[in-house]
């Protein structure tokens, strides 16, 4: 369950990033997670929902974009997407591949909801 540690890092980083925007509501947090990272999305979502309780992220949605594994063959320089974890160049059969994508574990962006006027928070007719 390292997802709990990862979720903790996400909550801490996002809270630090939005500290300068105290009036904004945080609608969603958008992550980019590579297919090779061994992160279980449901466990991460669970960890996030638990750890964000009582913080500004309590009602924030976690959105996860899965990033496919892309490598470049060091032998023939071809770039291709790895399917089923088969790290073999489809052009020349070499196993000497350089990973370009698939290792990502990043907070890409957050969507904020900034009230237009402070008054709009008051109930209106």
């Amino acid at each position: 369950m390292h997802e709990l540690s990862i979720a903790k890092s996400i909550v801490d980083s996002v809270l630090a990033s939005v500290a300068e925007r105290p009036s904004a509501a945080i609608a969603s947090v958008h992550l980019r997670i590579g297919e090779l990272t061994d992160i279980a999305a449901d466990a991460l979502e669970f960890g996030f929902s638990v750890l964000s309780r009582g913080t500004r992220l309590e009602h924030t949605t976690l959105r996860i974009e899965s990033v496919p594994i892309v490598t470049r063959c060091n032998a023939c320089r071809q770039t291709f997407t790895v399917e089923d974890y088969l790290f073999v160049c489809p052009a020349c059969n070499s196993g000497d591949l350089h990973m370009l994508h698939g290792d990502e574990l990043e907070i890409d962006h957050v969507i904020l909801n900034e009230p237009d006027h402070p008054d709009t928070n008051h109930p209106r007719k």
Binding site: I6, H98, L105, H109
Partner: protein, 231 residues
């Protein structure tokens, strides 16, 4: 009003920063550092015990042992004669992180060490995301496990530079196929250096020791210890 705030930050950037600190400290000391990972029961502690007993008089070995709850593993290794052995009690955490390693590395004298083993928590999933500042990860599996293990844990086998297959004395007692595991591992990581051995009978250990010595020597000379294209 809805607004997008770009962050574009690695989730584990703080861990990576601490790992870089560990790495530069160990690089200055020219201590080869191996992050040893495996499932529970593959024989990490036995391999370390045996290695220290056999070559500990010529290669000065330090061990940082991460064990989930107890200091048992560290005690076993201490008895085998490790130069410096420090346990890390993870309090139930499923992996070591760079801060734990930095805390230990900052507080022990590694001037007398040639080789540092970081014995990670027995688990092939969680430790794979955490850089500890090692020169390389060495993944250990045993012949009592499935030979499809590399396919089940591609992340770890992809990130490792060497694979050690332990308990070759038990080959033939199960369906474990040495050729199949090699093929599976290489399909995930074509640059993986593969060694097989038995800590019980001593079969294959000379090969493992020669490989370790080569890397220790390269580190001492300030040369790369793994192929530059790896990863």
């Amino acid at each position: 009003m809805e607004e997008r705030l770009n962050i574009q930050q690695k989730v584990l950037s703080e861990n990576d920063r601490l790992a870089a600190e560990v790495r530069s400290r160990l690089h200055e000391l020219r201590v080869l550092t191996l992050n040893l990972v495996s499932s529970p029961g593959s024989g990490k502690t036995s391999l370390l015990e045996r290695t220290m007993r056999d070559i500990g008089n010529t290669v000065r070995i330090a061990v940082v042992a991460g064990d989930v709850q107890t200091e048992n593993d560290a005690r076993r290794i201490t008895r085998a004669g490790g130069t410096v052995v420090r346990p890390i009690i993870t309090n139930g955490k499923c992996h070591l992180d760079a801060r734990m390693v930095l805390d230990v590395v900052a507080n022990i004298d590694l001037h007398e060490a040639d080789l540092l083993f970081i014995e990670n928590v027995g688990n092939l999933v969680c430790p794979s995301s955490y850089d500890l500042g090692e020169d390389m990860k060495v993944v250990l599996i045993s012949t009592t496990e499935g030979d499809d293990k590399p396919l089940k844990y591609p992340g770890m086998f992809r990130r490792s530079s060497a694979m050690v297959i332990n308990k070759t004395d038990l080959l033939g007692l199960s369906d474990f196929d040495l050729q199949a595991v090699t093929r599976n591992a290489l399909s995930i990581n074509g640059r993986l250096h593969i060694m097989s051995l038995s800590c019980r009978t001593g079969d294959g250990l000379d090969n493992w020791y020669a490989w370790l010595r080569d890397r220790v020597d390269a580190k001492k000379r300030g040369e790369p210890v793994i192929d530059e294209h790896a990863g």
